[in-house]
Symmetry: C2
Subunit: 199 residues, 2 copies
């Protein structure tokens, strides 16, 4: 390995820790950062510090916010009788882009995973139960991912909600729009077949 | 577009300015950064600031360094009679990994480009000429990229060195090791044919 000057080596190492950025991309980004005017590097450095300092999890739904409750939880125009439970804050972004759901969210910040050693108490489930006890809703949509861990998490929460009167639902699985049968894996095809609708 | 809280929007915007990171990756990285312990985000923020503050261009060769002259220019074990001229600091890294070149470098920080409006005075050529006048060498290897701009830059510098006794060379072009003729573009094939060696 080539020995970089220490400040550069440190920068590459810190950048390489980010997801999807390895040694090679970290090096490329570090050299780019060195070539930027100091105003730009200062803006980037400050943005990281400020975002971490001023953003926190909403005490109601767990989503990232700089206010409390977050803007979605405070929004008077949204329905309060339906909660969509997702694994990550990014999932809220994806659903909000859809512009069709006007209920509230609950962000788990993860999923139950036997392999990763993540139990129900490690993610934001307890707050969901307290929230539903204090403010009962009509329906909870368990929008965790259609993966083993996502399914496990959904099943676990569904079990907890069983004694309540709350309707519990799960997003449909099937062939993505624009996708072709040829390129769809067999499990998805099975789910699509199973969930077929009469015309 | 979904409206992010301001500190998060700022972070995404600053990250998205980096090369190879667009809106989508910027969002992904920003959410990851929010989920990190504050010690980690602080380390990243500080690494950016510190690298920019303490790294500068070597007054001799132009490469990034935290000392002056840089460690390569100061290295007594390296030959001082041969200089390899490259476009970017990253090119020095690539050549040092080869572990076969033990001369010195000169980093141009760019190339001459008519389209981008970059002239000879915009890159580190003047210092190269001064350097060669003060410390004449045997050979200058023009290792700029085999692109239109890289060739233009090499030809320009070769022209400047014409009146001197310095030998000027250029890296060979040809089929990359491990590559196949089938996947080699015709210009490279032509160069490989032209530069063929008798066995």
């Amino acid at each position: 390995m080539i020995r970089y000057p220490k400040p550069l080596a440190t920068l590459i190492r810190e950048l390489a820790k980010l997801p999807g950025i390895g040694e090679k991309s970290g090096q490329r980004l570090a050299f780019h950062i060195l070539s930027l005017p100091e105003g730009d590097t200062e803006a980037l450095s400050k943005a990281i510090r400020e975002a971490k300092k001023s953003m926190h999890q909403c005490s109601v739904c767990g989503n990232w916010t700089d206010t409390d409750p977050c803007s979605i939880c405070r929004d008077k125009r949204r329905r309060r009788d339906i909660i969509c439970v997702v694994e990550m804050p990014q999932d809220v972004v994806a659903l909000e882009k859809m512009k069709e759901f006007d209920g509230l969210y609950h962000v788990l910040h993860g999923h139950i995973s036997a392999i990763e050693g993540i139990g129900p108490e490690d993610i934001n489930i307890k707050n969901l139960i307290i929230r539903l006890r204090e403010n009962p809703v009509e329906e909870v949509i368990l929008a965790t991912n259609p993966t083993i861990d996502g399914e496990t998490t959904a099943m676990y929460i569904a079990g907890l909600l069983k004694p309540t009167q709350i309707k519990v639902s799960r997003l449909a699985n099937g062939i993505p729009i624009g996708g072709g049968l040829e390129f769809t894996d067999k499990t998805t095809l099975y789910k699509a077949m199973e969930g077929r609708r009469e015309l």
